[in-house]
Amino acid sequence: MTMKLHVTVAAGFGGADDGGNFPGVGRLDNATLELNSHLRHARYYGRAACLVAATVSRLQMGLRSPTDLTGLVCNGGPWNLCTSWSFLSRAREAGPAYVNPLQFPATLVSATATAGGLSVGAHAFSYVVGYDHFAFFETLLRAAQAVRFDFAQRVLTIGVSTSDTAIETASEKAGICEPLDVALGFAIDRSSVGTHFDLLGVTNEEEFLLNYPAAVRYEAVWSKEGLTFPLSIPVSGHDAMGATGAVLILSAAMHHERLASSARGGPEFAVSLRDDNRFMAAVFRLGNGSLFAHWITGLAIPQRERRSLR
């Protein structure tokens, strides 16, 4: 039998209260972000790592019960690119003996997880999984497994996507749209205190959804033309890259909460993403948490609108 897990959500940026944006989407200048990250030597970690640390801090504030063993999983992406670029540029300009050793850890792909792990004291593990649009679903899968198999009592999964000078340049040269600035954190927990919804399952097998016939389904499709999703999501003209799953799930949860409150939908909902070769889905049940309420204020979420990311 699948173990039910509990989910608490937090956004790295402000939501409706800060100007009507979708929670977790925004734009902070690097100095403010570095300050909010509470990381030592934050400026050397890179923007994505600071975003992860800031999101972890916000998530921690929403978690009412402490836990002994926390793990952290982030989605992957080119978040080490800018630091690596500046590291190499410095080596060319001044010589290898003059590169900054404080920048070195942030040249690794896993720097985001390291930053988040240090912030929260993630003594179970802190690592990065996935590299594409399915990555956040993968972080949920690994988080749920880690709790079920008793490697952690709580796992923070962070969906992060950002842009900086190097990513902007690379996106332009590659002809790919620039990544969205977004950071969303989900805490996957055995304890249910203060949580927003339950994670009933996460899978890469379509048959799994047959176990939840009552669930309302929010199905996203990734194709050459971009992403289609039955809800409007705040990423027009941008690509949420590895954080796409987090944006889809939060959009669906907010919409479903409204549906459920008007007695039009049951408590269960499923969010899936597919492309030509791959499928991932997560099934949730609305909980007692009401944090979405203030995010929903001021947001129009039309149904069945199809919008492309590209």
């Binding site: 992957g76 690119l81 900054n100 690794l108 240090l118 993630a122 594409d132 690379a170 790919i176």
Partner: protein, 382 residues
């Protein structure tokens, strides 16, 4: 609510490796037993930076990005270890991969020339290793030098969760990178001479490159008795690069791995250690072994004096050595030893050490960010 048990133990179908001492796993294993190592100046590997630092590289590896615009040396290493284990286009094995620095070759070329070739730029944004080698259904992990063990653990958790008939291939790969060589040099963590793991004369790591892969199957009637019996993981969450001086989280990962095997620490016959040759790592790791197995009651070896530190591949290479050591009862020697071993450790030096075959062998890896992983390998019948 009770946690689920990791009761599925897939069989090991095949091992594969490319290292500085061998182009495949059998030749690498024999070189390790013979005490062979490889160390050359980084200058020999054609970097634009004048860095006369000893490294352990794969001679003849194609490091260009010209023929395959979005592939560099790391992709090629991964491809080299996947080929012997793969069954071609019809292979339904699920792939799990890992690396540290991704394709730094592409970054080097781009940042020097700023060309307009869009495929190169795309290669920076969309990691070409998982995309091209693992296919769209691949699973990808990165956690610095524990990357390949986190990928292995993901595969094992999937086996236990689905319990259906399937194959999985886990691959870890990392190529020499100028960013890495400069970074370790500036962090004063790179050796200037010989890498000496667990030796009081140690001065740093020998930066290496390589790849390792393992094919697992469940169920498997003809795979042999040696399996991955238990694993543990933890994170110091202490410092971006340094280990926690007390080593309590490394100790927890090791004890958890043994506990999940259903055995006692006294049942472990040998350790394939992380053993980087840096004072910070070796003193902490050595102290942990001394606490768990007091007075040198267990033989320990490190392969990093021979192969160098192969970064994202190093954890999986330790697992391969542990599999072979459990099968054959032979523990390869640690290179760079000359008697000044950290007090309290039984470091295998000079000649391979014979242990009872079909013994339990522990493989350990740690990495930047403080991650620790430990695996117990041995016969399933225990």
């Amino acid at each position: 609510m009770r946690a689920k048990d990791l009761t599925v133990k897939p069989g090991i179908v095949g091992l594969s490796a490319v290292t500085s001492v061998g182009r495949d796993w059998p030749s690498t294993w024999h070189a390790l037993l013979e005490g062979k190592g490889a160390s050359l100046s980084f200058l020999q590997f054609g970097s634009e930076f004048s860095l006369d630092v000893p490294v352990s590289g794969v001679i003849g590896l194609d490091r260009s990005c010209t023929e395959h615009p979005t592939r560099g040396a790391t992709s090629r290493l991964a491809e080299m270890v996947l080929t012997p284990l793969s069954r071609g286009d019809n292979d339904s094995a699920r792939l799990y991969g890992a690396s540290n620095h991704s394709e730094s070759d592409i970054l080097l070329q781009l940042s020097r020339e700023l060309p307009d070739d869009s495929s190169l730029w795309r290669g920076l944004l969309v990691d070409p290793i998982p995309e091209q080698l693992l296919g769209s259904a691949g699973n990808w992990c990165s956690s610095a030098c524990t990357s390949s063990l986190h990928a292995l653990f993901a595969a094992l958790m999937d086996f236990s969760e689905t319990r259906t008939e399937r194959d999985a291939i886990v691959v870890g790969a990392d190529a020499l990178s100028a960013v890495g060589v400069m970074g370790f040099l500036r962090a004063k963590a790179s050796t200037h001479g010989e890498c000496r793991p667990f030796n009081l004369k140690h001065d740093g790591i020998l930066i290496g490159e390589g790849a390792a892969a393992i094919r697992l199957r469940y169920p498997c009637s003809d795979c042999g008795p040696i399996k991955i019996l238990g694993f543990g993981m933890s994170c110091d969450a202490f410092h971006p690069t340094d280990p926690d001086g007390a080593g309590i989280w490394l100790e927890k990962a090791i004890r958890d791995a043994v506990r999940r095997t259903g055995c006692d620490v006294t049942d472990i016959a040998a350790i394939i250690s992380h053993g980087t040759g840096t004072p910070k790592n070796d003193l902490v790791e050595g102290a942990v072994y001394e606490r768990i197995w007091p007075e040198g009651r267990i033989p320990i070896t490190s392969i990093k004096g021979a192969l160098g530190h192969t970064m994202g591949a190093s954890g999986l290479l330790n697992v391969l050595v542990a599999v072979e050591a459990s099968k054959t009862g032979l523990i390869p020697p640690t290179l760079g030893g000359d008697g000044y071993v950290i007090h309290g450790l039984d470091l295998v030096q000079g000649m391979p050490r014979q242990i009872k075959s079909s013994s339990l062998v522990l493989a350990v890896a740690s990495g930047f960010g403080g991650n620790n992983c430990a695996c117990v390998i041995g016969p399933d019948s225990l």
